[in-house]
Symmetry: C3
Subunit: 138 residues, 3 copies
């Protein structure tokens, strides 16, 4: 069994944003030399997500509006977590979007459906944050 | 290390629906010959889910009503994604229900709790769609 | 390839509650002797969760309030599942929080970010319930 580990770093210049990281992950998979196995990709921070969906700008605006409806950022005082912090909503939004994805590796490639793209989702940005990539297989 | 890959195909005759796929997955696991490992089962489409919950018809109706409350299908015009499409709500509903499950394989069997059943969740049906099964182990 | 399996048991003395299980999982990982691989930790019950977030009491109260807003416990009669049961809301809450986490194992340790802690989330407590831990690797 082979294993491969890599950290990807982000510093999103706004509080919230989505970044398509599919091609970064493809490069790492190639570097790993693993042909058959499972790939885990997870946010290492609890106010960020890794998720799979469509790379369509309208949908991303829908996600932003929808997450604000389900877990509004303001007023900050509505959340008990917001004593020294102001990011309680980011913890809730990331819960909706998910921490991680597990993707099959087949024949040395990400075994994704036709429209599946992997995103980093930031909900408390303007700081350095990491995504972990771990691949195991042969 | 052994690995096994299979696609399961669905064409749900309505926009939304849930299908219990536990026994299909059990057959694939048997076919794989893998006794100890991890099984990934994911929707390959971004308007569908694979999730684990109870096989109880009342609960499935509760899910339908609840998802419509959290991410209503109509009016279509409320979503920016719905220019050429009408399925933005399906992307949001699937986000709530999740893309994938990872299940332990122990002694050649799905290592599930007493009421855990695996479902395909369709949110934009009436077309051919796929689920990916990938098992790694020994 | 090595594999390791363990069940963790809980009996939460209230309907809902969160328990930090990170150190229990670390002990199991040490016991497994696995140095590189993937660790799956999932609720074996469909009204409970395993999730990763911050160990901060204010945030946990925010989660409780937020989940009650998104999927209220009462009135019980609002859910079709609640014929002989009263726990439909627990199925929905657990769907938001997730069934499972997959964590990388690197150098014999849980490969977590600085604030990542693993929790058992109970939404229908006062009974014995289980979490499954499965680790594969070398």
């Amino acid at each position: 069994m082979k294993s491969y580990r890599k950290e990807l770093w982000f510093n999103i210049p706004s509080r919230r944003g989505f970044v398509n990281i599919t091609s970064d992950i493809e490069k790492c998979l190639k570097e790993s030399g693993i042909k058959e196995g499972l790939l885990l990709c997870n946010a290492m921070h609890i106010t960020a997500s890794v998720f799979i969906n469509d790379d369509e700008a309208g949908l991303h605006k829908d996600f932003e509006k929808w997450l604000e409806k389900l877990a509004p950022e303001k007023p900050y005082s509505q959340y008990m977590h917001n004593g020294f912090e102001d990011n309680a909503d980011a913890h809730l939004k990331r819960t909706i979007m998910g921490r991680e994805v597990v993707v099959a590796v087949t024949d040395g490639k990400l075994d994704l459906g036709p429209w599946e793209q992997i995103f980093y989702g930031e909900f408390d940005g303007m700081r350095n944050k990491r995504v972990l990539l771990k691949i195991i297989g042969e």
